[in-house]
């Protein structure tokens, strides 16, 4: 479970998040809010990409400040733009990034990559150059690159913003079917209707938190 205790994040002397307290035991949690509200800042705290200015973030009892590596092993992160997440020129090579470990042989790594490619229906793209893929294929590769590390939690930060309708549906179906605990930041409220819990961030504070219907109503009221 991810927990935030009295978390404040300050940037350039301004509080981006203020005194956030959360316990997140649910398997599907959506995070909504206007641009600049602090929702991306909030989820960056979950895997230690960002450390709080005050307070503490715990993942299964591990502090993101003291146990960065262990926390990143538990919490995967899928970014909005897959172009900036894929670091190797070909699909197969990119999936192998992160699997490098002294105790793992080259053939073992290759087997894990092949199995992952097959699971995502990407086997035919193994030797394809990543910059030649379509937007949907790139996002699939980015997600595969995260799940291959077998994290227990995955944060999706607006993963469908750059995609067309068809690819958005495909990625959302994948997110719904994924076995890990999911934290999804999205502006598309339809995607979050069947989530267990929604959190609405407004001006760095939790504006609403609970079942989707009520949180969405309060979020819409903000802009009525």
């Amino acid at each position: 479970m991810i927990e935030l205790h009295g978390v404040t994040v300050e940037r350039d002397g301004r509080a981006v998040l203020r005194d956030i307290n959360l316990k997140l035991p649910e398997r599907r949690v959506g995070i909504i809010g206007a641009n600049g509200s602090g929702k991306s800042t909030l989820v960056r705290l979950f895997n230690g990409l960002l450390l709080p200015s005050r307070g503490e973030v715990l993942v299964d009892g591990l502090s993101t400040r003291k146990n960065g590596k262990e926390v990143r092993r538990k919490v995967g992160f899928v970014f909005q733009n897959p172009d900036n997440q894929i670091v190797y020129p070909t699909v197969g090579e990119d999936l192998a990034f992160g699997l490098k470990s002294p105790g793992r042989s080259k053939s073992e790594t290759a087997d894990i990559v092949d199995a992952c490619l097959a699971a995502y229906g990407l086997s035919h793209l193994k030797t394809r150059l990543t910059h030649q893929l379509s937007g949907g294929e790139k996002q699939l590769v980015a997600i595969a690159g995260v799940t291959i590390m077998q994290p227990e939690y995955i944060v999706f930060d607006e993963p469908t913003t750059l995609l067309d309708l068809g690819n958005t549906k495909k990625i959302m179906q994948l997110i719904h079917d994924i076995e890990q605990t999911v934290f999804l930041v999205s502006h598309d409220l339809d995607h979050l209707a069947d989530f267990e819990r929604l959190i609405c961030i407004h001006e760095g504070r939790i504006h609403a938190d609970g079942a989707p219907g009520e949180v969405l109503r309060q979020y819409r009221e903000l802009f009525a």
Binding site: G76, F77, F79, N84, P89, E93, L99, K100
Partner: protein, 203 residues
């Protein structure tokens, strides 16, 4: 724009270890720059062109490797002709052609991951002098990976500025490109940080 790095195949050159190819490039580069005989350098060029046949790389692909350097080679040749003689100009551009084609051939027949691994092995002794070999190899793969992305961003910005009638303003193109590249660099660093879970993964 460079849009092809590796061509899958099973030729002798594809099967040759990446480290051997990198050592060959280093030796060839040294040899052609020490050699002042036009005929030997010309023979090296013919030899490299023959190796493209051995690797089953289509001729069109070979010419594309040189296409982007033609203007630069023409300038070098002209300047050398003016300040020295045409033989010197020819010798210099032949040297460059040999190196460009040889380096491209290695890239076309070697997977980036194999090249990175070979580089890591070659640089291993420098660890004792404080060199972070994993970081160097990650830099190499990132460079290869993001060449097309940089070209794509530049193209997008040029199109946008053309729409505003600013296609001839270097500043109007350079500033947005630099800003986007800096932002992209931040996001890539963040993504690498997020994907770094093993002690052996470079950061």
């Amino acid at each position: 724009m460079i849009d092809t790095f590796y061509i899958a195949g099973n030729s002798f050159l594809h099967r040759l270890p990446a480290a051997a190819k990198l050592v060959f490039i280093a030796m060839l580069g040294t040899a052609v720059f020490l050699c002042r005989d036009l005929y030997y350098v010309g023979a090296a060029l013919v030899g490299i062109i023959a190796l493209y046949g051995v690797a089953h790389v289509p001729p069109g692909m070979m010419f594309r490797q040189l296409k982007f350097s033609l203007i630069l080679l023409a300038i070098i040749f002209s300047v050398q002709w003016l300040v020295a003689d045409w033989q010197t100009g020819l010798l210099i551009i032949l040297r460059f052609a040999v190196l460009i084609l040889a380096a491209s051939l290695v890239t076309l027949t070697t997977r980036t991951s194999d090249m990175v691994e070979a580089l890591e092995r070659i640089l291993q002794p420098l660890r004792h002098f404080g060199l972070d070999v994993a970081k160097v190899s990650l830099c190499l793969s990132l460079t290869i990976r993001f060449i097309p992305e940089v070209a794509r961003i530049t193209q997008q910005v040029r199109e946008a500025q053309r729409a505003r009638g600013l296609e001839h303003s270097i500043l109007a193109v350079a500033m947005p490109v630099i800003i986007r590249l800096l932002r992209m660099a931040d996001e890539i660093a963040e993504a690498i940080e997020a994907r770094t879970v093993s002690e052996d993964t470079p950061r």
